[in-house]
């Protein structure tokens, strides 16, 4: 199927709206993406025609809802090219998925004296759960791999911090939500495994922008969230190898995650149910399934090619603007650009862009240490692209930025 962005935009009702009298130019998909009609309709159909609780009713509606929920799991497994759908655990979002690993693997499997290795480019969701683990009195250390001035992972530093063999888990963003950097994931897996460490990737940004393949990647854990992938909020995914799930104690206890319960002793359900306590996000799973079907029908290679065009175009246009500085210059990057103007604070700039109908994020984008690393504690503006973003929108952003600089001069 050829990539027709004009036709794709018609699938997203919100993209036709007006903001402050101007057509909406939505450049905040990295925070949360807009939803195609197919996702909305699938969720409505689920609630209007096929809704009941899952895994427990011996009646037709519950069986239908259970089938839909498990079909969503299978769709995620295909999307990730996972070897087995049971490797897919549904969570609330990426943050919940990382916390699950930090609690269950971190507290249940890792041993005192071991370390978790993250990097300077992490989102707070991949920093704070590990700090909580470190501060839990279990003797687990937290190490931080440096990022180079161009915004890439410092692979020499990574090797140095793996060298003593104490790192039990490497947990790194597959793609930075600020710099756009895509890390060399296969190389990280090889280095970590050689040093005896398991690997978790936070794929929240990456899965939106390119095809990921669990069997080719060889990692141990992979997380992403539905709402950045054109799906609903309230659902995320932890992909975890079955052998790891077997070793991990449950995180949350409750209904649905047990085999049998008595006051003396409770036994756990088999993976992945062991990690899905309580009524799961049923309608959200249906929505995520529809979102995956949507992007798969377009084709991730086509999405990636479109984004490459946008990234090249944005690089050209933004580099031309006097006084504008871009954060990071990684060779391999996705459609995320954090920038600052020499005469305007990020928040003032975002207010101006909003007046032009342009939605960008301002601040530190849940990556405060990364902003400190690059000496921009006051924050940056961030434009992030989706599969519906056009070159004309980037041109309009560039024009607005030029005028914003004049405004503040």
């Amino acid at each position: 199927m050829s990539f027709d962005v004009a036709r794709i935009r018609q699938d997203f009702p919100i993209l036709g709206s007006m903001v402050r009298g101007k057509p909406l130019v939505f450049l905040d998909s990295g925070a949360s993406a807009q939803k195609p009609r197919a996702v909305v309709q699938a969720m409505v159909r689920s609630m209007e025609e096929r809704y009941a609780n899952v895994h427990r009713g011996a009646y037709q509606l519950s069986e239908a809802a259970t089938a839909d929920y498990e079909a969503a799991r299978a769709a995620v497994a295909r999307f990730l090219n996972a070897a087995d759908p049971r490797e897919v655990i549904f969570t609330g979002n990426s943050t919940a998925a990382i916390n699950l690993v930090a609690h269950s693997w971190g507290r249940g499997v890792m041993r005192p004296g071991q370390a978790v290795l993250i990097s300077e480019l992490e989102h707070h969701a991949n920093i704070v759960p590990w700090q909580m683990l470190r501060d839990d009195g279990r003797g687990i250390e937290l190490r931080v791999c440096r990022v180079t001035d161009s915004g890439e992972l410092d692979m020499e530093d990574l090797a140095a911090k793996l060298a003593d063999g104490k790192v039990g888990l490497v947990s790194i963003a597959h793609m930075s939500n600020v710099l756009g950097t895509v890390v060399p994931a296969e190389r990280i897996v090889a280095m970590a495994h050689a040093a005896g460490a398991k690997v978790l990737f936070d794929g929240s940004q990456a899965v939106v922008h390119r095809k990921v393949d669990m069997q080719a990647l060889g990692a141990d854990f992979y997380v992403f969230t539905g709402h950045k992938l054109y799906g609903p909020t309230g659902i995320g995914v932890l992909w975890a190898r079955l052998e790891h799930q077997e070793r991990m104690p449950p995180f949350l206890g409750g209904g649905d995650m047990i085999a049998s319960v008595s006051f003396e002793r409770t036994t756990w359900a088999e993976p992945p149910a062991k990690f899905e306590a309580g009524t799961p996000p049923i309608v959200e799973a249906v929505g995520l399934h529809a979102a995956i079907d949507y992007v798969t029908a377009i084709g991730m290679p086509a999405v990636e090619a479109h984004e490459r065009t946008l990234v090249d175009h944005a690089m050209r246009r933004l580099s031309d603007i006097d006084g504008l500085s871009l954060l990071g210059a990684a060779q391999d990057r996705g459609g995320v650009f954090a920038f600052g103007l020499d005469n305007a604070h990020a928040h003032d700039l975002a207010t101006l862009l909003d007046r032009a109908g342009i939605a960008v994020r301002a601040g530190r984008h849940c990556a405060e240490p990364l902003h400190a690393r690059f000496g921009v504690e006051g924050g940056t503006c961030r434009a992030s692209f989706g599969l519906y973003t056009t070159e004309a929108e980037i041109d309009y952003l560039a024009e607005a930025l030029t005028k914003a600089r004049e405004f503040f001069s």
Binding site: H347, T351, E377, K403
Partner: protein, 155 residues
């Protein structure tokens, strides 16, 4: 493209934002407090020198942030000098009403001159996400007046 934003970014705001008045550390401050906008990254530290009668003899600040937060802190330090703690609190209440609604119907005649000086910031009420930029300095002032060295947050 941005002409209608001149209501928010009036010349006096841009001027105080670029060249904040009283942007310095008061070495012999009697009171100080830090203010932080965690969502925005705006940070400031406010210093007060008190007169024997408890009124504000001098006010100064250090910090960094957007034009609105810098201009607000700058204008605040100018307007609270010479005020008693009670007057400064009252002015702060009036300013918060101004920032949130655009007007302060309850502001009496006694502070009319001061409120007029702060009027250029009233445009912020049309930008809900920016109100806290304007009020950070006044939250920090309360913290400095009420206790020794506290951390104020506009969240």
């Amino acid at each position: 493209m941005f002409d209608d934003l001149r209501d928010l970014y009036q010349e006096v705001i841009l001027d105080h934002g670029r060249k904040p008045r009283n942007l310095r550390r008061l070495q012999d401050a009697d009171r100080s407090a830090k203010g932080d906008n965690p969502m925005c990254g705006d940070r400031m530290e406010l210093f007060l020198k008190l007169a024997p009668d408890g009124s504000i003899a001098d006010a100064a600040f250090e910090g960094r942030g957007c034009a609105i937060s810098m201009a607000s802190a700058s204008l605040m330090t100018e307007t609270v000098k010479g005020k008693s703690a009670a007057e400064a609190h009252k002015l702060g209440e009036g300013f918060r009403a101004l920032a949130m609604t655009g007007t302060c119907p309850d502001c009496g005649a006694s502070l009319a001159d001061e409120m007029e000086r702060l009027q250029p910031l009233s445009g912020v009420h049309e930008f809900p996400s920016r109100v806290k930029c304007a009020t950070l300095a006044w939250h920090t002032l309360n913290a400095a007046l009420d206790g020794g060295s506290k951390e104020a947050s506009s969240e």
